[in-house]
């Protein structure tokens, strides 16, 4: 139902140690955002795409589809950053507009390219994590990093409930569709509202049943689950350390 969630369970990297995957994604992400260089961004983009597609076995068409998701935001906000309204035209491009110019300069064009590359590279880092590590494993990592118990429990429950509610909302939506519930604007407003309110009512009923069920199984405020253990591969640690050191070295070299 959620494509990323479905794919991450089938990834070939699913059973590598989540701590390494998490640290790799986060440290690379931080470096990428902090350094803001096109070269670093390209290296990160290529590496994470290679890892996700080749090592993880996610199909390239899916990967491209995911990379296109944040495109609207990227395009709109880059337009906002690059274009200026100014009484004098800039170096790269200008069109007259009510006695002023809509214009942009070469320098801003360059920085926009850099920004786009950095953003894409960071998104690819995020995808490396989310297309190889299920939420439950990420929660395990957070637990190891001493995130408050209450938050982790809340996240675990929310994660579980998302799918319950998605299923309900899906079937509600289908039944509305099959009864011409979305023929025109007015009906579809009505249907959307009905769907959301029904969903809320069902959600509360479910949560009440769930509490009863857990109570009858001696729930005392904490949920105990068995953790899967993942062996640590020494080679992975070596690659991880080498890659990060190279990135740091390169960014220091570029920064000079």
């Amino acid at each position: 139902m959620i494509l990323i969630d479905k794919l991450c369970y089938t990834s070939k990297l699913r059973y590598t140690n989540p701590m390494i995957k998490f640290l790799f994604a986060i440290i690379t992400l931080i470096l990428c955002v902090a350094v803001r260089s096109s070269v670093i961004a390209c290296i990160v983009l290529i590496t994470t795409a290679f890892l996700t597609i080749q090592k993880g076995g996610i199909s390239p068409s899916h990967y491209i589809h995911f990379m296109k998701l944040p495109l609207i935001f990227l395009v709109l906000s880059t337009i906002a950053i690059v274009f200026n309204i100014s009484p004098t035209p800039f170096s790269a491009f200008a069109i007259p507009f009510f006695h002023q110019y809509i214009t942009l300069s070469r320098a801003s064009l360059l920085s926009a390219v850099q920004l786009i590359l950095t953003a894409l590279a960071s998104v690819s880092c995020l995808y490396f994590l989310s297309l190889s590590t299920p939420i439950t494993d990420i929660l395990y990592v957070l637990q190891r990093l001493h995130c408050p118990e209450l938050l982790i429990e809340l996240m675990l429950l929310i994660y579980r409930f998302i799918f319950v509610l998605l299923e309900i909302s899906n079937s509600l939506y289908i039944s509305q569709q099959s009864r011409l519930g979305n023929v025109d604007f007015k009906t579809s407003c009505k249907s959307a509202g009905a769907l959301m309110s029904t969903l809320l009512v069902r959600a509360f009923k479910k949560s009440s049943f769930l509490y009863d069920a857990m109570e009858s199984r001696c729930y005392d405020g904490t949920i105990h689950v068995l953790q899967e253990t993942y062996p640590v591969n020494k080679l992975h640690i070596l690659y991880f350390v080498l890659f990060e050191l190279t990135l740091i070295g390169l960014s220091v070299y570029l920064g000079r």
Partner: protein, 253 residues
């Protein structure tokens, strides 16, 4: 006159066409990697007091009613699912609501801040809306500023004895708009314009995203009103459970 009107409508449609063709309209999450580290950290730090307040209020509620954990988790899942539902749109592209305004009215702003950051984390990981580095900025605009305003407007309307449905519409629509203005300000500060600096940049962001966000806010307001009518008419007993959240706006007497 009529032909002139037609011409105006036609040219407006042409102008908006490229945006209408965009596949989906979402709430305005700042994308991963779009903010420099200092802004990521600054917005994150700004969120901390609200999150701690929310965390403590949840802890207090849980100490009294253990069942509240389930309800809170359902509320979080509800907020997540809400943002993935299709709502009707005038343009024909599919659009998704923000859901935080309605959440704030139902569950109260402080609980919403903690739920909000979890939902935003899941949205980043599962849907690639927003990101991990921009989590702080997105949390501030969507889980703190927007909901607080929504809640404030709702309470104000209650004081002024405005019709409840009008209050819900104003709270959710204005909360949405406020979220989008805050996001524009965040983007403007991080990427000042070459001429006019931060102010001009904020103006540009507000102007460009208005095309997607203003219709979204209005429709979300309408839909939230329908939700409220639905809940009031056949879910009063379920809503009593919401009484656990002291901040929640609907108390059933």
């Amino acid at each position: 006159m009529k032909t002139k009107q037609k011409k105006i409508i036609f040219s407006l449609t042409l102008l908006l066409l490229p945006l209408v063709c965009s596949p989906t309209v979402n709430a305005m999450h700042i994308m991963e990697g779009y903010l420099a580290p200092k802004y990521c950290i600054a917005w994150g730090v700004l969120c901390v007091p609200f999150l701690i307040a929310g965390f403590l209020s949840i802890k207090k509620t849980l100490a009294e009613h253990r069942k509240a954990l389930m309800i809170l988790a359902m509320a979080g899942a509800y907020a997540f699912v809400l943002s993935s539902l299709k709502i009707p749109s005038v343009t024909g592209s599919s659009s998704h609501p923000t859901g935080t305004g309605l959440g704030a009215v139902l569950f109260g702003p402080f609980a919403m801040s903690v739920i909000g950051i979890i939902v935003l984390l899941f949205q980043a990981i599962l849907l690639a809306h927003g990101g991990l580095t921009t989590l702080g900025a997105n949390t501030f605009s969507m889980a703190i500023a927007g909901p607080l305003l929504s809640y404030g407007i709702f309470k104000l309307c209650e004081k002024l004895k405005v019709n409840k449905l009008v209050a819900v519409f104003l709270a959710t629509a204005l909360g949405d708009l406020f979220t989008y203005v805050i996001t524009s300000i965040q983007l403007g500060i991080a990427h000042p314009s070459e001429v006019g600096g931060i102010g001009a940049s904020i103006g540009k962001f507000i102007g460009i995203f208005a095309i997607t966000q203003i219709p979204l806010a209005i429709i979300e307001g309408i839909v939230s009103v329908v939700v409220m009518i639905g809940l009031e008419s056949y879910a009063k007993s379920e809503l009593t459970d919401l009484g656990y959240f002291k901040g929640g706006a609907i108390h059933v007497k």
